[in-house]
């Protein structure tokens, strides 16, 4: 009974026998690992498969590459197949060409003799291999390098501006006493309730009027004045004792110096959290860039990926590889900085 208690309420002690709640716990966690990581791993595994293999059903777990052999009398390497002969024995042959349901094949050891085989009787010889051209080709040919650069630019610049403007505002709101301070704070917090999706049309009009339409700055600027950022930094700056500032003023430090050389370094942990969040937000932004950017060479990775995935003839081998590339920075953040993000969410409820 107390095991059920601890399941529904809190942890249970060590050193007891396995209880059904333990089974539920570990089953849930195991399912969690498979469900949460599995799809992304499947994406990575698939991204190394060639187009022919991607169209196969059932799909194989690992990527395979068909073996080829150089055969005398042929310039190109020929693909190898295992052929089952009428007597049931198997032999490895190279295919020269396919004619209808027949395949014209040759034994690599004996290149003179041509053998006709029904395609139902042959199996490709494959071994685990990686179709790395999935990654190379779109970066070179399909603008993806451009998209990647745009995404990096938007993310880096937007994060830098976010950190600067939000910390300046937070400094004013936490360290100065002026009329209307609470009104400003309230205004900023209230707009948390107004998400981007309800002001799309007028925001588009404003961006249009400021001449930022179809430019990366039109993507960056509307996102940088985050209320969450101001709020987070202000809460943190409130914990910095005012005596520190007073001491600096005694030493004739200017207000800018106080902000830049005292308050900002002391706010580093909160700035780091905001920086991580901002990078993830801006890297992942989709709807707003989709609306602002119409010239292809300005697309960010997310918009570019969506465009290529929305085409009539989806080139999955490229899409999958580029999805993996899009995922890399976020996975790095997950591996190395995940603690900061979870602490930020649990502590301040930001996302």
């Amino acid at each position: 009974m107390s095991a059920v208690t601890s399941f529904l309420t809190r942890r249970r002690g060590q050193g007891r026998r396995w209880h059904w709640t333990d089974v539920v716990t570990w089953a849930w966690l195991a399912a969690g690992v498979v469900l949460m990581f599995g799809p992304a791993l499947w994406l990575v595994a698939s991204s190394f498969k060639g187009p022919a293999q991607l169209a196969e059903f059932p799909p194989t777990l690992l990527p395979y590459v068909q073996q080829t052999a150089q055969v005398e009398g042929h310039d190109e390497p020929l693909p190898l197949y295992t052929v089952t002969r009428e007597d049931g024995t198997e032999v490895v042959l190279a295919e020269i060409r396919r004619i209808g349901t027949n395949s014209q094949m040759v034994d690599p050891a004996n290149p003179e003799e041509r053998i006709n085989v029904n395609i139902a009787d042959r199996e490709p010889v494959r071994e685990v291999g990686f179709a790395t051209e999935n990654y190379v080709a779109p970066l070179v040919a399909n603008n993806f390098l451009r998209f990647l650069w745009n995404s990096v630019f938007v993310t880096a610049v937007a994060t830098a501006i976010t950190l600067l403007t939000n910390s300046m505002a937070a400094f004013a709101l936490s360290k100065y006493d002026f009329r209307g301070r609470n009104a400003v704070m309230l205004l900023i917090v209230a707009t948390l309730m107004v998400p981007l999706s309800v002001i799309l049309v007028p925001l588009y009009a404003v961006v249009n009027a400021t001449g930022l339409l179809d430019s990366l700055w039109g993507v960056i600027l509307p996102t940088v004045a985050t209320p969450t950022g101001v709020f987070l930094l202000r809460q943190y700056m409130l914990t910095i004792p005012d005596e520190l500032l007073e001491a600096a003023r005694m030493d004739h430090a200017s207000e800018w110096q106080i902000y830049w050389r005292i308050v900002l370094p002391l706010t580093a942990p909160a700035l780091a959290v905001l920086a991580i969040f901002s990078v993830v937000w801006r890297w992942n932004d989709f709807l707003w860039p989709l609306i602002v950017l119409s010239r292809r060479e300005l697309y960010t990775l997310q918009v570019g990926l969506n465009t290529y995935a929305g085409e009539l003839n989806v080139q999955w081998h490229y899409i999958l590889a580029m999805t993996v590339v899009t995922m890399i920075p976020v996975v790095l953040i997950f591996v190395f900085l995940q603690r900061f993000i979870t602490a930020g969410i649990a502590g301040a409820g930001i996302k």
């Binding site: 009974m1 059920v4 208690t5 601890s6 399941f7 529904l8 309420t9 809190r10 942890r11 249970r12 539920v24 966690l29 969690g32 949460m36 799809p39 992304a40 991607l54 196969e56 059903f57 059932p58 799909p59 403007t165 505002a169 004013a172 100065y176 002026f178 205004l187 707009t191 309730m193 998400p195 999706s197 309800v198 002001i199 799309l200 049309v201 007028p202 588009y204 009009a205 404003v206 961006v207 249009n208 600027l221 004045a225 200017s254 207000e255 800018w256 830049w260 992942n284 709807l287 997310q302 969506n306 929305g310 999958l320 995922m327 976020v330 997950f334 993000i341 969410i345 649990a346 409820g349």
Partner: protein, 335 residues
Amino acid sequence: MTSLGHWAGVLVTAPLVLLARAVDPLLRAWQRWTGIGGMAAFFLLPNLLIFGVFVLIPIVLNLAYSMTGGTEILLAQRPYVGGEQYARLLECQDYSRPLTCREDQFWTAARNTGLFVLFQVSLMVAVSLVTALILNREIKGRGFFRAVFFFPVLLSPVVVGLIWRWILQREGLLNLLVVNLGLEPQVWLNDRVTAFAAAVGVSTWAHMGFYTLILLAGLQAIPRDLYEAAEMDGTPPARVFRRITLPLLGPNLAVVLVLALIRGVQIFDEAYVLTGGGPGTSTLFLTQYIYEVGFASLLRNPGLAAAASMLMAGVLVVLTLVQLRLSRSSAGGQR
């Protein structure tokens, strides 16, 4: 490693430090001229300027746009039409059947969004609550498992949509499992019901880690001695859960509910990449409707899109207020 990181940091910040030094004389002069009050204004200005131009002005303009007609984007060139856009959205013979409405797409999107929110939020709260309860136990590698459930939260909606499109397609992983179980493979995203279920499931998959974290923080804040006292009194576990855990978790549950509802109403990115609103209009949601009417369709109608987003904003504000009230009463410790 640390010294490497240190020097990298120095390299990045050095230009900034120099810049900050360079502006100092100017700001000193400004400070002498305007005093501390001027400095407060200076520090607030960049953020408030951006905020005003890109958030506050659009909020006000939205109302203006919703009361004008035509296809022009410049407000000055748009004729005033009063409440016509709203009337057009709300004109309907039978609200339960979207096809009888003048803007049938809007009502289809509204109905889909309502159903989506209903299913997704209940699923989300249930799944995150169970996960939080499990992660709150004394298990080995808790940090690791907490991270596991959090992983998809960081992925971009486009990546999430593509990952699952790839799994749910005809030759995909799900069909492999289905065939191995001896069932018929399906094209999951081509069927109205399974495509809708996929939108619900995928968005839950992508965001549950976030809500789990909030609930877990709440569970860990519940004082342990309460449970010890209950155990000593021999209180049945179900009642302990109902009388201690749930009430004390109340504020966090309310927060999770508010956020899940608000996000649910705005569902767009991952569903759009996953299904594109289809098949037909079975996964067309409100934000996609606004996006398509305002920007994507040939006969774009910014006024209609603005009116629709005003209605959506109304729903969001009401939801927020109701839920804030709920969370206040549960924090007050009723029950």
